[in-house]
């Protein structure tokens, strides 16, 4: 049987086997112990492309595509409009079928887009340098914590309890095996020690509200701990970048910058730091140089930090940059540009404020904090959020995240530029309807 991804015909194979000097392809596998050879693979029979397309469409059709619904779910993955230019560029196979740019002479496309990415990420965050990208926001934050330990030589980190619970959970497999202690603390009871490598803060925090970064920075500085911040990149179209409040390492989930939500991945972690910490940064870095004719070009650089050279002494085992996803974010940031980034941030802000105002006027709903918030906010509900969400789902609305594990009857709502006023009003009406039931 012939398969579309295999070029050799039976005749080709025979000619090649003869050139190799064996009589059959089975002879090529003789090193495999005989009793384990040719196992039965119990897989469904192969299908044609048309049949497969139908099968995939059927599976995709079983999911509720929130694009057709009113959705107010964020919590680490966000629904923003992705301009068409993004897909057209990432869909170019010169980008998506290339490998890591180890051969710079024929990889300038990838290398220069990474350089643009590093430039825009560091500008957005107000930091001196950024790397080429990490797996996602959670692992980027964990790597930042490890980096802080390497820099300070300290073996304990403090993380505010308003950081994403998932991100806090992901810190554990990264930090605990290396003997780094994790102290989870409320900002009220914060007590950093001389042994604290870093203070980890999320801005705006997981529940949507702004942290007092000036106060947190002062506390970290008082004990010589580094300031590690995980941010919402969309918010930085409007909010003060972490570099301006003294952050040492800044990470973010890059998904909201033009990347499909795609049931959780692929995403990209953004990672930036002060240049004095550059040599402790994990991940790939692209730098500018010249070729032998003096023309400007780009190469992977500072590679001695990495696993393929330093092996067990590397800054990390990572060798992926989520390059194609980083490309999507690069095109997105360039397409929005200065004004677009400001406008999207402003839209998110005012729509979220509007939604919060309307919801908190309903009986039994109350904002959990008086701090400013950007595009997410938490309210306490008159009954269990799970029940409310079930009701909303029956009205074609995906509600907010149930955070009652942390805040009694708490629900975390997210509002972006995609949510129209009509949708927000509908949400408010249904919440009122539920309360009146």
């Amino acid at each position: 049987m012939a398969f579309p991804y295999i070029t050799n015909t039976e005749e080709d194979r025979q000619v090649m086997l003869k050139a190799i000097g064996v009589s059959s392809s089975a002879d090529l596998f003789n090193d495999i112990p005989h009793e384990f050879r040719n196992p039965t693979l119990n897989l469904p029979p192969p299908v044609s492309e048309l049949e497969l397309k139908r099968e995939l469409e059927m599976l995709a059709g079983k999911n509720i595509d929130p694009q057709g619904w009113a959705s107010f779910l964020g919590a680490g993955s966000y629904r923003h409009y992705v301009p068409s230019v993004v897909g057209h560029i990432t869909g170019r196979s010169e980008f998506y079928t290339a490998y890591t740019p180890y051969q710079p002479e024929i990889s300038q496309g990838t290398l220069q887009t990474i350089y643009e990415f590093q430039s825009m990420v560091s500008e957005l965050m107000g930091m001196e340098v950024a790397n080429a990208g990490m797996y996602d926001g959670a692992s980027a934050l964990a790597e930042a914590a490890l980096m802080a330990c390497r820099i300070t030589g300290r073996m304990s980190v403090t993380v505010l309890d308003t950081v994403s619970p998932t991100y806090i959970e992901v810190l554990k497999p990264y930090l605990l095996p290396q003997g780094v202690a994790i102290d989870i603390s409320s900002s009220k009871n914060l007590s950093l020690k001389q042994t604290t490598a870093c203070l980890i803060v999320q801005q705006p925090n997981f529940y949507g509200f702004m942290e007092d970064m000036k106060a947190h920075a002062a506390e970290a500085d008082a004990v010589g701990a580094l300031k590690v911040v995980t941010v919402d990149p969309i918010s930085l179209g409007m909010l003060k970048p972490p570099g301006e409040y003294g952050a040492d390492v800044v990470t973010a989930e890059g998904q909201s910058l033009g990347v499909a939500q795609s049931f959780g991945g692929p995403y990209v972690g953004l990672f930036a730091c002060k240049s004095k910490h550059l040599r402790q940064m994990p991940g790939r870095i692209v730098g500018q140089t010249v070729d032998s004719q003096g023309r400007t070009g780009y190469v992977l650089t500072l590679q001695t930090r990495e696993q393929h050279i330093r092996r067990e002494r590397a800054t990390s085992n990572i060798c992926t940059t989520e390059s194609l996803v980083a490309l999507a974010t690069t095109v997105y940031m360039a397409a929005l540009g200065k004004r677009g980034m400001q406008e999207i941030a402003t839209l998110c802000y005012h729509k979220a404020q509007y939604a919060a105002k309307q919801i908190s006027q309903l009986k039994g709903f109350r904002l959990t904090s008086s701090s400013p918030f950007f595009r997410e906010f938490t309210v306490t509900c008159p009954s269990a959020p799970a029940e409310i969400n079930k009701y909303l789902l029956s009205k074609s609305i995906i509600g907010g995240l149930d955070v009652s594990a942390k805040i009694p009857n708490g629900m975390l709502f997210c509002v972006t530029e995609v949510n129209t006023r009509v949708e927000i009003d509908k949400l408010v009406k249904e919440l009122a309807g539920f309360a009146d039931k």
Binding site: F3, I6, I32, P46, G76, A130, K172, G237, T301, G340
Partner: protein, 495 residues
């Protein structure tokens, strides 16, 4: 490639910020349809944002031009050893863009994501079957992340069994750098195990290192030398007898599809690189996907979450009893899972076996045709990739790097160089099953021609390439004076 006019090239490659003009834009934003609220206090707001301002045509031309400076699998043969640069089917790219996949929120209620969960469940089942293992988690986001996950499970298993003294991981000296780097991330020490003259693990060396302080062994099968480890069953047995576990780095699974199930050989964990074996595109350095497939011993330790089937043909996420917990924000690189699923469905069992068969034939064909001109360090048949040494060429003061760069002038992507570390001047060629005989013949002719050039005009090879968008780049300069981001002219003194 549009390289005829160097001036134009230079101009087109100017960075976006250099061509930025205030007032231009390449996107529109919706109108404000809600009343404005008070802004947050000024001290929370940023003053300015130095982002490019370009029009949509400028933007598209810029990135389109950059794409022409790249070489991808769709451009031609990409024999990059250990990377499995196979063809990436086009249907897959359409499939991941289906709104019912692309727009699904990772934590929307399970009952609203049944299609995605069903696909993941099926894929778990297929990968367990292909690897001969009991259970699978699709959560790891890359191969190295799979290694990280696998060793987390080893750690949890040993802690659970009171074996806290197990701190040492054994790794053959031919291994990929991620193996020792991963072991170090888990707080383990690394002991390198030597390779014997046939390219197998030195069994005496292995036995000497095994003991009650050993966490386990990380081994790549076939090895990074492109060879099937002849002692693999004995190795797994010995490690198990010493109380250790065996980690299978599945980077080279393309050689084994349908030929043998690693789980049957005694592996406790095998990670798969979906971006290698299962054709998901490499994307210029990611995204990848590194599912971990585990034996019965470790199934309860799998990361959060795995997909389970419950009554009424419905599916849900599940956290195994002794789970190592979450290793990333969500549940795996779903877009990659869709592609791998599609690949397995088109090929079925017979097709997968044909993949490995053709991959191995292609590599051995290259071996047979080039062994007269390039030194073959291990005199035996190879699996899906063949490693030569450019030692002979070095006598003419031409290095593996130079041979690789010269291939660019012949229109081919270079092979992997200087890996594995134990082969001097290594050139590692992995044709994959995507290539056909004529294509390989053209590649072989180029390699033979370069071998002649090395003897007759070594200088020509030493300064290659000549026909690429750029000549050799000064990597030392890049590392000595790092310039890592765009800066306005006035600020260029800074990093």
């Amino acid at each position: 490639m549009l390289i005829n006019n160097p001036k134009l090239l230079e101009k087109q490659r100017t960075l976006l910020m250099d061509v930025s003009v205030a007032g231009r834009r390449a996107s529109t934003t919706p109108s404000m349809d809600v009343p404005l609220s008070d802004m947050p206090p000024a001290e929370l707001l940023r003053d300015d944002l130095h982002f490019p301002e370009v029009s949509e045509p400028q933007l598209i031309r810029y990135f389109t031009h950059l794409s022409t400076l790249n070489y991808g699998v769709d451009s031609g043969i990409y024999p990059l050893g250990s990377c499995t640069m196979k063809y990436n089917p086009k249907l897959h790219e359409d499939a991941v863009r289906l709104p019912g996949f692309a727009n699904v929120h990772p934590i929307q209620p399970d009952e609203t994501a049944q299609g995605a969960l069903q696909l993941m469940h099926n894929l778990q089942t297929y990968l367990a079957e292909i690897t001969g293992t009991s259970a699978v988690s699709l959560a790891p986001l890359a191969g190295a992340h799979g290694e990280f996950t696998g060793l987390q499970m080893f750690r949890a298993y040993h802690l659970e069994h009171g074996q806290i003294q197990r701190k040492r991981v054994l790794i053959p000296d031919s291994a990929h750098g991620t193996n020792p780097a991963t072991a170090a991330m888990l707080g383990f020490t690394v002991t390198s195990v030597a390779t014997d003259n046939d390219g197998n693990v030195d069994m005496d060396a292995l036995h000497k290192e095994l003991g009650t302080d050993v966490v386990g062994l990380m081994i790549t099968l076939p090895s990074t030398l492109g060879l099937f480890e002849r002692h693999i069953v004995e190795i797994c047995k010995a490690v198990h007898e010493a109380g250790g576990l065996v980690y299978g780095d599945g980077a080279n699974m393309n050689a084994l599809l349908g030929q043998v199930k690693p789980g049957a050989l005694g592996f406790d964990v095998v990670h798969l690189n979906l971006h290698k074996t299962f054709s998901t595109p490499h994307g210029g350095g990611g995204p990848g996907s590194g599912p971990v497939c585990v034996s019965e011993t470790l199934r309860d330790y799998l990361p959060d979450a795995v997909v389970v089937k419950i009554a009424n043909n419905t599916y849900k996420f599940h956290r195994p009893a002794k789970s190592i917990g979450k290793i990333a924000a969500f549940n795996g690189n779903f877009g990659m899972l869709v592609r791998a699923y599609a690949y397995i469905r088109i090929l079925g069992a017979e097709g997968l076996k044909s993949i490995s068969e053709n991959a191995v034939i292609n590599a051995n064909y290259v071996l047979a045709k080039l062994k007269g001109d390039y030194l073959l360090p291990y005199q035996r048949l190879c699996m899906h990739e063949v490693i030569f040494s450019a030692k002979r060429q070095k006598e003419h003061n031409v290095r593996a790097l130079d041979v690789a760069k010269r291939l660019i002038d012949y229109g081919f992507h270079p092979p992997t160089m200087y890996f594995p570390l134990i082969v001097e001047e290594a050139l590692m060629i992995e044709p994959t099953e995507s290539e056909g005989r004529e294509g390989l013949d053209a590649f072989i002719d180029a390699m033979l021609s370069i071998a002649r050039e090395v003897e007759e005009q070594p200088e020509l090879v030493r300064n290659a390439p000549y026909s690429a968008p750029m000549t050799r780049l000064d990597e030392a300069r890049a590392a000595r004076q790092p310039v890592l981001r765009w800066r306005a002219d006035a600020d260029k003194q800074k990093i």
